[in-house]
C-alpha cells in the first residue's frame, strides 16, 4: 500500500499513522477526508474503510463528531482523542473535567453532547467489560439536553469514579464538612452568587445520592420564582 497523506506540513504514510494525528488537525482533516481525491484513494486502497467513512458521512452531521469517529475507522485501538487533547483513559477525562470545575471545557462538553464517550467505550469493548459503568455513561449522555452543565460535571465524577468535591483546593467527601465551610459568613455570599449557574455542587450531591432532594429543590424554587415574577 503506497499512501501519502499530507496535512499542513506533515506527511503520513499510512491511514493508521494519519488517524493517530487527526485530533491535532481537526478542521484540516475534516476537509481532507471529505475531499473527492481522498475518498477515491481510500476506495482503491481499503474498500472496507471507505464504506465505513461513507456510512459516517450519511449519518453524522456535526463536524467534530464525524472527525472523532473517522479517526477510529482508520485506527480502532487508540486512546481517547479529541480536539488536540489526548486522554489515556476515560478516568483521566473525568479528572480533567473536575480539575477545571466550575469552568467548562467546551470540547469535552461536545464529547458528551454527541455521545462520543459511550461510542469510544463500545469500540474498546468496555461496554462488555464494565456493563454497569457503561450504562451510567449512556444514561448521562441521554440526560445531557435536560441540564447540560450538571450532566457535564456528573460525567466528571462518574468517569473519575470520585465522590469528592474540590473547593479552594481542598477536597470534601462529607456533605456536613463542605457546608460548614461554604455557609460560613465569610464565604456564603460569594458561593451563593454562582452556585446555581455552576451546577457543580448539584452534580456532586446527585452523585452522593441526593437526587430526590435536588428534584424537590428545583420544583420548589421554580414555583416560588414563578410567583415572584408575577
Amino acid at each position: 500500500m503506497s499512501v501519502i497523506i499530507k496535512i499542513k506540513d506533515q506527511d503520513y504514510f499510512s491511514f493508521e499513522e494519519f488517524a493517530k494525528n487527526i485530533y491535532m488537525y481537526p478542521d484540516e482533516s475534516y476537509k481532507l477526508i471529505n475531499s473527492r481525491k481522498f475518498l477515491l484513494m481510500l476506495k482503491k486502497e481499503n474498500e472496507a474503510m471507505y464504506n465505513s467513512i461513507i456510512e459516517l458521512r450519511k449519518s453524522e452531521i456535526q463536524e467534530g463528531a464525524f472527525i472523532f469517529k473517522a479517526q477510529y475507522v482508520f485506527c480502532p485501538l487508540m486512546e481517547l482523542k479529541y480536539y488536540k487533547v489526548k486522554y489515556f483513559t476515560p478516568e483521566e477525562l473525568g479528572k480533567r473535567i473536575l480539575n477545571g470545575a466550575p469552568r467548562i471545557d467546551i470540547y469535552i462538553q461536545e464529547l458528551i453532547k454527541y455521545k462520543l464517550i459511550s461510542y469510544y467505550m463500545k469500540l474498546q469493548g468496555l461496554d462488555k467489560l464494565e456493563p454497569g459503568f457503561y450504562k451510567k455513561i449512556i444514561d448521562l449522555e441521554e440526560s445531557f439536553s435536560y441540564n447540560e452543565i450538571r450532566t457535564y460535571f456528573k460525567m466528571g465524577f462518574i468517569l473519575s469514579k470520585s465522590k469528592e468535591i474540590v473547593y479552594r483546593r481542598r477536597k470534601y467527601s462529607d456533605v456536613k464538612a463542605f457546608f460548614d465551610v461554604i455557609l460560613s459568613p465569610a464565604i456564603i455570599t460569594s458561593f451563593a452568587s454562582d452556585f446555581e449557574k455552576d451546577q457543580y455542587l448539584f452534580a456532586w450531591l446527585e452523585i452522593l445520592g441526593y437526587e430526590k432532594e435536588i428534584i424537590k429543590f428545583d420544583a420548589i424554587i421554580s414555583s416560588v420564582e414563578e410567583w415572584e415574577e408575577k
Binding site: K176, A192, F195, I221, W227, K230
Partner: protein, 347 residues
Amino acid sequence: MKKEDKLLFLSELVGYDTSSFVETKKDEFLSNGVMVDIEKILHEEKRSTAFKYQMLLSEYEELKKTDIDSMEKFIISTGKANNILSSFKNKKYLNPLFSSYEGDYLLSNITVIFDGKEIFLGDIVLKEDYSDSYKIDCVKQYVINWYREIKDNFIFPLEKMVVYPKNLPKRKLIPNAKIIYGIVLLIVNATLLYTFVSNDVHFYNALHNDFSDPYFSIPYIIYCYLVFACDLLFIYSLLRRYMYVKRYLEGHDLLFKNSYIISKKLDVSSARLYKDILNCIVNKTELTSEISKYSKLGLEYKAYLYMKSIDEKKSLRVDTLFAYEIVFLQLIFIFLIYFIFYIVLFL
C-alpha cells in the same frame, strides 16, 4: 429570593442542620417588605366582596400564623406572600360579573392568563399575532369560570336557602307582645298624667318637693322616674327593632321573592359581557366598558350575606332589651300596688 436563602434551603434538604439560620428567618418573614405591603393594602383599600378576595384574605391570615421552623417553610411562605401581594396589587381576584366596590374599574384592566402569560384582558383584544378564534376561546373560558364562580358561591346556596330556610325565623315588624306592652304603658302614662293634673294634695305636695308624707311622696317620685325611663326604653327598643327587622324583612323579600330573577340577572350580565368582548375582538376595537355595566348583584349579595349570618346563628335576636322592659313594667306594677294599698289603708 436571596441566593443565600436558596443555598441554605439546599443544605437543609440534604440533611444539614440549619436551625441557627432559621431563627433569624422567623422575624425576617413577618417584617419583610412583602408582608408589610400586604398589610398596607388591606388597611388602605376598601375590602372587596369578591369570592377570590376572601380566599386570598384567608390564605394571608393562615400565612401570618405559619410557624417558620425550617428554610423550606420560609422559602415557600415568602413565595406565597409574593403571590398574595401580586394578587391584591393587580386585583387578580376581580370577577367583572360581581364586584361591589370596584364598579369604576375598567374591564380592559382585568388580569388573565393568555398563552401561559399574565396579560390584561384589553391587551388580548388588540393582539395581532393570534387568531380571533384562539382569543375567543380563551375569553369564553374566563367568562364561563366567572359565571360558575358566582353560581357556586351565591346562586346555588341562595336557592338552597330559599327552598329550605330551616333556621330563618318568621318576624313581624311589630309583634303582638310589643303592641300589648305599648297599650299597657300608655295606660300607665295616662294614669300618671292624671296624677299631674288632679287636685289631690298628696300628688301636688310630692311634685312640689313637699315630703311631709315621705311614705307616699318618695315612692311617687321614684315611680314617675321609673315610668319615664320605661317610656324611653320602649321607644329605643322600638326603633332598634324597626331597624333590624326591617333590614331582615327587606332582605328576606329581596331574596325569597326574587331568587329566580337574581339568577336571570346573572345570565343576562354574562351574555352581555361575552358579547361585548367578542365584538371588540372581531371588530378590533378597544374594550372601554367599566365593570359596573356587568356587575349587578351587589345589593342582593349583601342581603344574602346578612341572611346567611342569621341562618348560621339560627336566630334573629332583636328584642334583647325586652327583658329589661318587662322588669321595669313589673317594678311599675309593684309601685302601683303599693300606692293602692297605701291609699286604701292610710288615706
